[in-house]
Amino acid sequence: MRFTFSQEQQQFRQEVCAFLREEMSPEYETVFGTFSEEKYWFSRDLFRRLAERRWLTVGWPEEYGGGGKTFLEQSILDEQIGYHRVQRVGITGINFAGPAIIKFGTPEQKARYLPPIARGEAEYCQGFTEPDAGSDLASLQMRAEADGDQYVLNGSKMFTSYYAHADFIYLLARTDPDAPKHRGISLFIVEMDTPGISTRPLPYINGEVAAQTFFDNVRVPRTCLVGQENQGWYHAMTTLDYERAGLERYARVRRTFDDLLSFSKSAPYRGGVFGKDPLVRHKLAKVKVGLEGWAALCWKVAWMQSRGEVPNAEASIAFLYGTKQRLYFAQEAMEILGKFGTLTPECDTAPIQGAIEGLSRESMHMHGAGTMEIHRNIIAQRGLGLPR
């Protein structure tokens, strides 16, 4: 048993870290709660440069423009991107759409869609959730009706993150309304500038802007279908299990913890420093226990993936634990900072750039890849074998 990386992996990690340290300047770092158009395009450019080194899709096979390494290397990259607070871009393409095309796509689709993702040139958004299909995703209503060599899409999708910059949307739509709900769904990749697609911006409380996306008689060629018709639900679930380690999310939070720790060691307080206060000390140490457990669970998922195993319950375990620990940290940090925790990132005198205020908003995102209750259902039913 060994929890450490191989020498090559350690070297890769150091190289990525050195590269990001060199390339990232403070004005482009995305502290929690601070997103901007300028940072977005900086990140896109940064991703292109990561791609030039074959790091962006380091875990993909080389024939598709990847680095030919494993999920561990991909997770190392994710971790470093999160820790250096690079604004999020390209996640859907690299982690979900790309792997789905690799597994289920035709040779033509692979040739068309994969190289731009690997080069960091294509942005994807995801169209799964609908206004009336959230936790019960398989009840989604958006229609895709075959019409000659086309499909006609009608319906709407919710919470479309990255919509404003996306070239493609990776979506699920119902192709057989008469089949049982899981068996009438298909997976598509659609160009966002197709006529009939419109959006209504949906700003989030963390400062990101997503959208509701409407499809009004959107005509797409049949070649947009990924995998088999009516198997889309199963294709999508398989690829959801691919990239679930969540190291980026963890590392972003860990960075803020490390910053808060440094702050607490230097901020003067009652004749000493803040961090020596017994209550502060206790809270910070307890938070660390949860963060370290979260990290270990994430790496276990990445390790399983690197061996070709499908971490199903394990991915939900890491996700659920992470959500809880991020929330716990945000609450404890707010308590530690008191009124200073209410100062936003725009405030020059906010401790650690106002990251805690931003984190406390971001920590309300308790529904990533399913609500906490859905993850508990997955763990109980698929992991523990309890009856449905």
Partner: protein, 368 residues
């Protein structure tokens, strides 16, 4: 990165589980608890034959030379089976102390007997206050020991105690070898949870032989830290094994117990508690094995061990509540086994400095 066990460890796990399921049923656990002796000498002898007592003792002294991960694999099974034994205190804590601090002749005399189960040792380390007020001073060709120790496990059953004492120089620790039957030694048992044998001991002018201090006067400090690190890890292993066993038991119960016409395990109110427990057990297990790997690779693992214990403590408390909560009424009875698990959970949670002790260590290692 390789988070799996190797073949030998897998085999040890299977063997240990099979042996303990056959030879350490909860009826035995109850008998030992009632006896107040804390262990079954017959079972202890069998464990010695299986090579378990020497598992992580040095090979040149009759042990198997196993590392911290090997030790954890066995400890998980012991925790799972609620094995009542002085394994943690005699073999792990005292065995390490002798191996690390003992002179060549002390190691050669004591370790093979520990491994064969012929010698039972107990650590007398803790005191009522903070620090070490027990003192050993030179007298004639040997030494004299004075002081009070608390929570000494298996004090009456032990053949030999290792009593930590200060000397003339502050901060130095001398590890004195004392027989519990020696003149000037008195034992006053603490009435304890689950019949766990622990006692308050007084040492009044107890004679210590010329070769009666491990490694000599003032040479025990480093060994003490390292031995306690091992003991904490082993305790984490026991807790993780017990937590996983509770999870399995409660899952079985939730699948078979029918109310409102359905197995209660079909209710999300039950499922979600069990999902949360699974998450906690996985996290504690990973942190425990991570610390063990750091230890066997020779890295400083003090903080990782404290993280593992704090995480295991939290999981342990959760497993008690989820276990009793899902079993409900039936587990409030003495005849149900759940109470055996929850009592041992509490003993472990309080061990190795408790959760607050770990939090203090973690904060200290973060520079706070």
């Amino acid at each position: 990165m390789d988070l799996g066990l190797n073949q030998a460890q897998e085999m040890l796990r299977r063997t240990a589980r099979g042996f303990l399921e056959a030879n350490c049923p909860t009826t035995l656990v109850r008998e030992v608890e009632a006896s107040g002796e804390g262990y079954s000498p017959e079972l202890w002898a069998q464990m010695a034959e299986l090579g378990w007592l020497g598992l992580s003792l040095p090979a040149e002294y009759g042990g198997e030379g196993g590392d911290a991960v090997d030790q954890l694999v066995l400890s998980e099974e012991m925790g799972r089976a609620l094995l009542p034994s002085p394994y943690l205190t005699s073999v792990v804590t005292c065995g390490r102390l002798v191996a690390l601090a003992g002179s060549l002749s002390q190691r050669a005399t004591l370790l093979p007997r520990l491994a064969r189960g012929e010698l039972l040792m107990s650590p007398a380390l803790g005191e009522e206050g903070v620090g070490c007020s027990a003192k050993v001073v030179k007298e004639g060709s040997g030494y004299r020991l004075n002081g009070v120790k608390t929570f000494v496990p298996f004090a009456a059953a032990a053949d030999m105690l290792i009593c930590a004492a200060g000397g003339l120089d502050d901060g130095e620790v001398s590890l004195c070898l004392v027989s519990p039957n020696a003149d000037g030694v008195s034992i006053e048992p603490h009435a304890s949870l689950a019949g766990y044998p622990q006692a308050r001991m007084e040492f009044n002018d107890v004679e210590i032989g010329v070769d009666g201090i491990l490694g000599g006067v003032g040479e025990g400090g480093d060994a003490l830290g390292e031995a306690l690190a091992w003991a904490t890890l082993v305790q984490c292993g026991e807790m993780v094994g017990r937590g996983r066993k509770i999870l399995e038991m409660v899952i079985d119960y939730a699948k078979s117990r029918v109310q409102f016409g359905r197995p209660i395990g079909a209710f999300q109110a039950i499922q979600h508690q069990l999902a949360d427990l699974r998450v906690a057990v996985d996290a504690a297990e990973l942190l425990t094995y991570r610390a063990a790997c750091s230890m066997s690779e020779g890295r400083n693992c003090a903080e990782e061990i404290a993280l593992a214990k704090a995480s295991a403590d939290e999981m342990s408390r959760m497993s008690t509540v989820v276990g009793h909560g899902v079993y409900a009424g039936i587990s409030y009875t003495v005849e149900h086994d759940m109470q055996l698990y929850s009592a041992r959970n509490k003993l472990s949670e309080a061990g190795s400095g408790g959760t607050l002790g770990q939090i203090d260590r973690i904060a200290g290692s973060m520079g706070l």
